[in-house]
């Protein structure tokens, strides 16, 4: 996942699934503020149609922002950010064009403050640096517009002061939002590095125990046939024809166990060891996992983690039965495709509130992640390289 951007949405998909409420509130608030300010300064508006178009333009940009910030449409792209930014700048230009009377007050403009508020709303989805750059470009644009208007305004204020008045609220909101986003992204990255190290250390600490348990598994296989056989031969110190057959037989059985173990993927192991209702150890994987091309092993650690967390979360649902769970993986050209289907006896709302963070992580680590829920069947589709 080297192409991942330094945004909160992409570094912490699960943690940002709930930020949309804030984004939507700020976007709606921005439109509300524009409406109120337009109503208050209606007498200064010389071209009501242009002023109305300006508000409509802002509303359209805000709507776009609300739609694009859905966790189900993640990731929020740079292109989308620029489209929204351009929309708001156009609204600001139209607002200025609609108010070309000498009595207008720069402080009554809703445009720059709304743009600042929207930059804060964009915080979780785009890198801080990109937001700061967008803010700087907007500041130049707004400054230029203010200078052009300053000549026609009846005010004692020097034009430079008017420019500062116009851009300061926008820049302040922009910087505030950027510092917050940058800081959180920095904290998340620092934590991720620490978590990786801690988890590696823990695994290293547990290494001995795991080795012992693997050895125990082997010894269990060996002590049934091999150890008695070897001990017997050593005691007898003579090989008889029956020994040769027995040796072949034991070797074949060990080999077949080893081959079976070797062909079992992490996913099959996970299914067999997971709790919940349904077929248990030794049977579940054969029912649940269909991976004819053996592509489960191609998944990266991130991807395995996402699937593991999702499956564990689903298995935790009451009444979840592993018999209804199907996981299909297959080769598709140079990449691989996956499909997870499960029966969940829950409502649409519960599905989205309880599993949204896992879906967000899945979306961040897989390409073409799709969710389809026709009660009670949940179907997830994804692909990976």
């Amino acid at each position: 996942m080297s192409g991942r951007e330094l945004t909160r949405q992409q570094l912490d998909p699960a943690g940002t699934t709930g930020t949309r409420a804030l984004t939507a509130t700020l976007a709606v608030g921005a439109v509300g503020y524009a409406l109120i300010m337009t109503a208050i300064s209606w007498r200064e508006i010389s071209h009501p149609v242009i002023a109305t178009i300006a508000v409509v333009m802002l509303a359209a940009s805000c709507l776009l922002l609300i739609l694009a910030s859905s966790p189900y449409r993640a990731p929020f792209t740079r292109g989308m950010h620029y489209v929204i930014q351009a929309g708001v700048l156009a609204a600001i230009a139209l607002e200025a064009a609609g108010q070309s009377t000498p009595n207008a007050l720069v402080t009554n403009d809703w445009g720059p403050i709304d743009l600042g508020v929207l930059i804060i709303a964009l915080g979780p989805y785009r890198p801080a640096r990109e937001l700061a750059a967008a803010g700087a470009v907007a500041a130049i644009f707004i400054g230029f517009l203010t200078l052009v208007r300053a000549e026609h305004l009846l005010t004692q204020a020097p034009p430079f002061a008017l420019v500062v008045v116009a851009i300061t609220p926008m820049l302040a909101l922009c910087f505030g939002g950027c510092v917050f986003s940058f800081g959180l992204v920095h904290s998340i990255q620092k934590w991720q590095r620490r978590a990786l190290l801690a988890s590696q250390n823990l695994v290293e600490e547990l290494r001995e125990g795991i080795a012992r348990s693997v050895q125990q598994d082997r010894v269990t296989i060996l002590s049934r046939d091999v150890l008695p056989f070897f001990s017997e031969i050593l005691a007898r110190d003579v090989i008889v024809p029956a020994d040769r057959d027995r040796a072949r037989e034991i070797a074949d059985s060990i080999r077949s166990v080893m081959v079976a173990e070797f062909d079992r993927s992490w996913l099959e192991n996970l299914i067999e060891l997971a709790g919940g209702v349904g077929p248990g150890k030794a049977g579940a994987a054969a029912v649940v996992v269909d991976d004819p091309d053996r592509v489960a092993s191609v998944m990266a650690t991130d991807q395995r983690t996402a699937i593991r967390a999702l499956l564990v979360a689903m298995i935790d649902f009451p009444d979840f039965d592993r018999r209804d769970l199907r996981i299909q993986l297959s080769k598709d050209g140079s990449g691989c495709r996956g499909r997870v289907a499960a029966n969940l006896d829950i409502t649409d709302h519960v599905l989205h509130s309880a599993l949204a963070p896992y879906f967000a992580v899945m979306r961040a680590v897989f390409t073409d992640f799709q969710i389809d829920f026709v009660q009670p069947t949940l179907t997830l589709r994804f692909s990976y390289e």
Partner: protein, 404 residues
């Protein structure tokens, strides 16, 4: 990794950076107010605005301290200094011409906004909103006092109220937005750790399977092919060792594999040398060529794995290739060591070998892949086989881990 901050760290980080974000807003608005004042003074040299500029400096300094050390003391100090300075600033502006007041009420609003952004020490939503309210009240009180004192009427200031409302809304909603993740985050962290453990277990199982193949399976095969009569002393010794190793020792721990580091650099102590010697003992003639000392650059685990893998290749030559001659060639580069095992025997097609034939898959390919190496096989039925085993040198391995 797609792991967010865990529940015990998230509130602190969010709170800390939220306050710093507020302070960035305060710095910007105060700087804006300063620039506006400078612009007015420059445009109207007859006015006395310089005290207003000076009033902003202690406030900027107090803000800097409150940002560096967000404690109750520094936050309160910022509010107190801010109250005095905003009074001073407003009084300076409002004691000038009426026209000026009409055209520049906004720079006063900027200072008030800077006070609303006080932030305060770390804490939850209620504390944070509390500091915001304190900032708002301080700002309104000090500025209104200055306005009244200079004989003007107080007008309702929507900008500051708006700043207060937006800040509060953002903080409350931001806090609520994390609730959804609060349940999922521990599960994600556990999944990540389980994944690491599963990967580790898998690596150990690969090792165990390869070891089992080299010992038990190999000796069972020897028994199956042995002649009737007394047990051959060599076979007896091997079987005895199997029993000891498999049951008695912790054969999967690294200690067993660690050769003496001082002697490990010696070719004669390398896994490859041992493999060649052992296969020679069972009747294969082996010509070893190339840069043999290069194997000294392998770490113990890789050297051990390489030795066992080459041994398996040589045993395969003896068993299946229908020849008793083979060549082992070693090439060393800075980053990796390549060993080529060549015979001019019967040859085979890898895909056509029986799926339960574990030798090449298990003892060679998996084993080498588990230490980060790669195996390539070229074999033509009737013309022989060449197996190229490439493993990373110890230095290259460290580098690769460092950049991963």
């Amino acid at each position: 990794m797609s792991l967010g901050l865990p529940s015990h760290l998230a509130p602190q980080a969010v709170s800390r950076w939220f306050v710093r974000g507020l302070h960035a807003i305060a710095f910007t608005t105060l700087s804006g107010a300063l620039l506006i004042t400078v612009a007015f003074q420059a445009a109207n040299p007859q006015l006395v605005l310089w005290p207003a500029m000076i009033a902003l400096l202690p406030m900027l300094a107090a803000l800097w301290f409150a940002d560096r050390t967000p404690t109750v003391f520094y936050s309160t100090a910022y509010l107190v200094v801010g109250a005095v300075c905003s009074f001073w600033f407003t009084a300076t502006f409002y004691s000038q011409s009426v026209l000026l007041v009409a055209s520049d009420a906004f720079s006063v609003a900027l200072i008030k906004v800077a006070l609303v952004m006080v932030g305060g020490p770390r804490g939850g939503v209620i504390k944070r909103v509390g500091w915001c309210v304190a900032g708002y009240i301080t700002a309104e009180a000090s500025v209104d006092a200055a306005v009244l004192l200079t004989g003007h009427t107080v007008e309702f200031d929507i900008t500051t109220l708006l700043a207060f409302v937006v800040t509060t809304v953002v903080f409350v909603l931001n806090d609520r937005s994390r609730r959804l993740a609060r349940r999922s985050q521990p599960l994600l962290h556990r999944a990540a750790r389980d994944e690491e453990l599963a990967a580790m277990r898998h690596r150990i199982e690969v090792k165990a399977a390869a070891l089992m193949h080299d010992t038990v399976l190999s000796h069972l095969a020897a028994i199956a092919n042995a002649a009737d009569g007394p047990l051959h002393p060599a076979l007896r010794a091997q079987v005895e060792r199997d029993l000891e190793v498999l049951v008695g020792e912790e054969w999967l721990s690294d200690e067993l594999l660690i050769a003496d580091t001082d002697t490990q650099r010696d070719w004669r102590q390398s896994g490859l040398f041992a493999a060649i010697q052992e296969t020679r003992a069972i009747g294969l003639e082996i010509a070893s060529t190339g840069d043999l000392s290069a194997v000294a650059r392998l770490d113990h685990e890789t050297s051990y794995a390489l030795g066992l893998a080459v041994k398996q290749c040589l045993v395969n030559v003896l068993r299946h290739a229908d020849t008793n001659e083979a060549e082992v060639a070693v090439y060393g580069s800075e980053r990796e060591i390549s060993v080529m095992v060549i015979d001019t025997g019967r040859g085979f097609t890898e895909t056509e070998t029986s799926p339960d034939r574990l030798g090449l898959r298990q003892s060679v390919r998996r084993r080498i892949e588990s230490v980060g190496g790669a195996v390539q096989v070229w074999s033509t039925p009737g013309r022989g086989t060449s197996i190229m085993i490439r493993v990373p040198a110890a230095q290259a391995q460290t580098n690769a881990r460092g950049t991963a």
